[in-house]
């Protein structure tokens, strides 16, 4: 996490500026996958223990995600798509659900380490039910470990954007929370710049104010804002200055000079406060180092019990050492400048997701914004800490088609710029056709087919996939009947034996009823789980 010393990239004439933190150095992967495997799921099983029985939501799924790749997971409602991503993030509500077994390797580290010791499942005699005894302390420890990864390693966006944000905090507060958690040092850097008494600051303010007063073109104002930021040695200040002096930003227009002065003065911190902030920054860096070390240890093998205790102690140390650094009475005074800083950083990020009036949006509350806007904000929040993987759980299902197109375009754009891997859940194959590189088709808690997108559409192998594709109405063949797959989604408490699709499959054979088909590799990175095909079984 290098402290950025590079200046902002030149702002293009039209379109939005590229905020510093979302731009990757040149040469980053974009669109060309086949990098390393960042996520490797092996035989993941997630069950829900309910009054009516054990719901086998995920019955042993395996797949891989590569760096920079967009993986789509498709299937009907209830097939376990959402449960998959929730399991990876370990957001399954623990009573009644549990990740029972499997491995989730994130950059080599097993996120499900110790899962078998978190609960004991015993069948109750003479009934079909089981008794689950959970060890809450272990579950809590596992949660704490995961919270290190959530947000910065893997982040997620959800289906209903209007419910997904906290209604009582404004938008910039919520984005700011993510920034403070994962990008704290940069935030603090934005404050520890030069003092306003330095030479060159006053004339820069003058120039900017007068440019604004005579309604100079936007490009010129941008240049002057950048100059002011340079004078303050604060690259991030340029966007703040730009918004303050833009002719269209309403009430500020009157007193741009005063507003700029106020902002610049607000940066002035006393020595004590600066010391405190520097200590905060050191602390955040220390915490990041601790987490990196934890990752390292996970990667080098399973953590043993000593290691776990050591990690716990370190986390406890982290939790209390910020008290050591706390200067009395300074904290409250600091909340103001940090709050403003998060506001402006959020504005930058919102511009990155192509929101037209970011300042207004940043200051509003979630209930004041539309679904499409909220989803963009959620994407911004998810991408702000530059995660390795972004999980998107049906992000466009709740939105209209036009907004859906915009969001998808945005995601595709960001993928190319940032190089994050995306796991996209949807039931709409058309969406996958837009953005995905590779698709997994799920049915009743299992993956039945896994192929690159073009191959899937060209030659779907699994009968279920074929049925799905055939049921899409086609404009160019109006004479064809509308197909559908006969039967209905199976009960996950008492699923069909063997291959779960066999009751509905037109090609069912006797063996399909008896045993579960393994995933076989059919070449061209196309694998399928069906007895119709005889490729080499995939190595688990």
């Amino acid at each position: 996490m290098a402290v950025a010393a590079t200046p902002t990239t030149p702002l293009p004439e039209t379109g939005s500026p590229l905020p510093r933190q979302i731009v990757r150095p040149a040469g980053a992967s974009s669109g060309q996958p086949k990098g390393d495997v960042v996520l490797d799921i092996r035989n993941l099983k997630t069950y829900f223990y309910t009054y009516d029985g054990v719901v086998r939501a995920l019955d042993g799924i395996s797949f891989k995600v590569r760096k920079g790749e967009t993986l789509g997971i498709a299937g009907e409602t209830g097939c376990g798509k959402s449960v998959t991503v929730f399991s990876v993030m370990r957001l399954i509500p623990d009573p009644p659900g549990r990740i029972v077994s499997g491995k989730i390797l994130f950059r080599g580290a097993n996120l499900l380490w110790g899962i078998d010791r978190e609960a004991k499942v015993k069948p109750i005699k003479n009934t079909g039910r089981v008794k689950v005894t959970r060890r809450f302390r272990r579950i809590k420890a596992a949660n704490e470990r995961m919270s290190a990864i959530r947000g910065r390693g893997i982040s997620m966006i959800f289906q209903e954007p209007s419910q997904a944000m906290n209604p009582i905090f404004p938008v910039y507060d919520q984005i700011g929370e993510v920034l403070l958690l994962h990008r704290g040092p940069e935030l603090i850097d934005g404050l520890l710049g030069a003092t306003p008494e330095d030479p060159g600051v006053e004339p820069a303010i003058e120039a900017l104010a007068s440019a604004s007063a005579r309604n100079a073109p936007q490009s010129e104002i941008r240049e002057l804002a950048k100059a002011l930021a340079d004078a303050l040695h604060l690259p991030s200040f340029s966007i703040r200055a730009f918004h303050l002096s833009r002719p269209t930003s309403a009430s500020r227009n009157q007193d741009v000079r005063k507003a700029l002065h106020k902002e610049v003065r607000g940066l002035h911190l006393s020595a004590v406060e600066k010391g405190y902030l520097r200590n905060r920054k050191a602390l955040i860096l220390l915490e990041n180092d601790l987490r990196a070390t934890y990752f390292q240890e996970m990667q080098e093998g399973e953590l043993d019990r000593r290691g776990e205790r050591a990690t716990r102690n370190r986390m406890r140390l982290r939790r209390y050492s910020h008290l050591y650094f706390r200067f009395p009475g300074v904290t409250r005074r600091l909340e103001r400048p940090l709050r403003d800083e998060t506001l402006w950083r959020s504005v930058e990020i919102l511009e990155g997701v192509r929101i037209a009036n970011p300042v207004q949006i940043a200051k509003s509350y979630p209930f004041e914004l539309s679904g499409g806007m909220l989803q963009r904000v959620m994407i911004a929040m998810a991408l702000a800490p530059e995660p390795v993987i972004l999980m998107a759980d049906e992000p466009t299902t709740a939105l209209d088609v036009t907004v859906q197109a915009q969001i998808l375009g945005l995601m595709r754009d960001l993928k190319e710029r940032v190089g994050t891997s995306i796991v996209l859940i949807t039931h709409d194959l058309a969406v996958l056709a837009e953005v995905a590189d590779r698709v997994c088709i799920m049915y009743a808690g299992e993956i039945v087919e896994n192929a690159p997108i073009v191959r899937l559409f060209e030659s779907p192998l699994h009968p279920y996939t074929q049925g799905l594709l055939a049921s899409i109405p086609r404009f160019d063949r109006p004479d064809k009947r509308l197909e559908s797959i006969p039967g209905s989604v199976p009960n996950l408490i008492t699923p069909p034996t063997g291959c779960k699709f066999h009751p509905r499959c037109p090609f069912a054979m006797p063996i399909c009823k008896e045993s579960r088909p393994p995933m076989t590799d059919e070449g061209d990175e196309h694998s399928v789980a069906c007895f119709l095909y005889h490729g080499a079984p995939m190595v688990e």
Partner: protein
């Protein structure tokens, strides 16, 4: 700006309630026989030989000294009792809204028990005793909030684990124990603890440790010279503010101020126990509901550590529902005051009410005055809660 509009609109809702309450008391007071009504309004029963504490001039009679039967007639005229009911209602409304709530009867049971109040206007008497109740209520509320909110949140987070079971026991027992029983036991136990089996007080020269806890002020033997100080009228009402702790501090008697606070702790706990029982359940349930909402999941997915999720995201949201419930239980909270004040002998309006309804002859002026006062308190509390709710939840004031 929107907040002010909301406050104004909400305050307007108070008006029909107040008018409604006064109407109800009007209906009830109209059911009284005339002589009792007159006594309630003017403090004197015309059947009883009249010793004027209310000057005859107030009745519109110029005969100084000796006015008996004319009072009856004059009183009826004044109250408009020979007019049709709507006029009576209007007169009553006018009197109530201008705070002419009648006088404490000369010969009522209340006046017998608290001679200080004899013949005084009801509003004055209430003004003397209200600050004490307010102080007690404040202390009680603080205890309630400080215990029920953290404990409720903890119970919700650790559902069905030992803390939850424990808080369930606490809340159920608080619900099932009548306040007077608990109060009496607590008082007895404290007396025995402080005084030992012999009952002697370690703090003062008087005999029983009972009086270390009973009553609002130390017994008369404990004061210098065995008389009450000048700022403490008849050992009950303190001046200038009426708030005992404040007044004692003003007059430099810091030990006495501490003593009044200590005397209020036990009653405050007993009152709090009942309300905590109800509030604890509500806090827990509201927190459980909030924890199931989507944005909690988003916060976890962002990597917010669990304790921040609970404190910041869930806590603030469940506070809203909690506030509403505090408002709803306020009426029940207030209703417990008469009992506890009687048990502990405190100088509050609750005890005033208890005496006025139980000591015959009943003092109806005080009864109705206290009822209206209590209702005003409840209404004010509800208003405050709603305003706080709007401050905390932007959806209310902007949506």
């Amino acid at each position: 700006m929107r907040l002010w509009i909301y406050i104004v609109r909400r305050s307007l809702l108070v008006v029909p309630v107040i008018i409604g309450v006064m109407t109800i008391t009007f209906v009830l007071i109209s059911a009284l026989p005339v002589s009792e009504r007159l006594e309630a309004t003017f403090g004197t029963n015309p059947r009883v030989p009249y010793t004027p504490t209310v000057p005859c001039s107030k009745l519109g009679i110029d005969t100084p000294g000796n006015c008996t039967n004319p009072i009856y007639k004059a009183g009826i005229d004044k109250l408009g009792l020979n007019q049709p009911v709507p006029v009576q209602w209007a007169v009553y409304m006018y009197n109530s809204l201008t705070l002419h709530w009648g006088y404490v009867g000369n010969a009522s049971g209340l006046a017998g028990q608290i001679p200080l109040a004899k013949g005084q206007p009801v509003t004055t008497v209430l003004g003397w005793f209200l600050p004490y109740t307010l102080e007690l209520a404040g202390l009680s509320l603080a205890i309630i909030l400080l215990i029920s909110i953290p404990l409720g949140n903890l119970s919700a987070v650790n559902r069905n684990r030992p803390i939850d079971q424990g808080s369930r026991v606490l809340s159920f027992s608080g619900y099932a124990l009548p306040a007077f029983l608990l109060g009496s036991f607590v008082l007895m136990a404290a007396v025995l603890v402080i005084g030992g089996p012999s009952g002697k007080s370690p703090f003062c020269a008087h005999a029983s440790s009972y009086f270390d806890l009973y009553g609002s002020w130390p017994a008369i033997q404990c004061w210098a010279g065995s008389t009450y100080p000048t700022w403490l009228k008849a050992g009950q009402v303190s001046s200038p503010t009426g708030f005992p702790t404040v007044d004692a501090a003003i007059h430099g008697q810091y030990w006495v101020a501490l003593d009044t606070l200590v005397r209020m702790i036990l009653p405050a706990f007993v009152i709090a126990y009942g309300t905590i029982a109800v509030l604890l359940r509500f806090v827990r349930n509201s927190m459980l509901e909030v924890l199931n909402l989507d944005f909690i999941r988003t916060a976890r997915a962002k990597g917010v550590p669990e304790r921040s999720v609970i404190k910041k995201h869930a806590g603030r949201n469940s506070l809203n529902v909690t506030l509403t419930v505090v408002g709803l239980t306020f009426a029940g909270f207030i209703a417990g005051f008469p009992i506890i004040e009687v048990v502990f002998g405190l100088n509050g309006v609750g005890r005033l009410l208890a005496y006025s309804v139980t000591l015959t002859p009943l003092d109806f002026g005080t009864i109705f005055g206290t009822t209206i006062l209590f209702t005003i308190i409840v209404v004010a509390a509800n208003l405050t809660v709603d305003v706080l709710y709007a401050v905390l939840d932007p959806r209310v004031r902007l949506g």
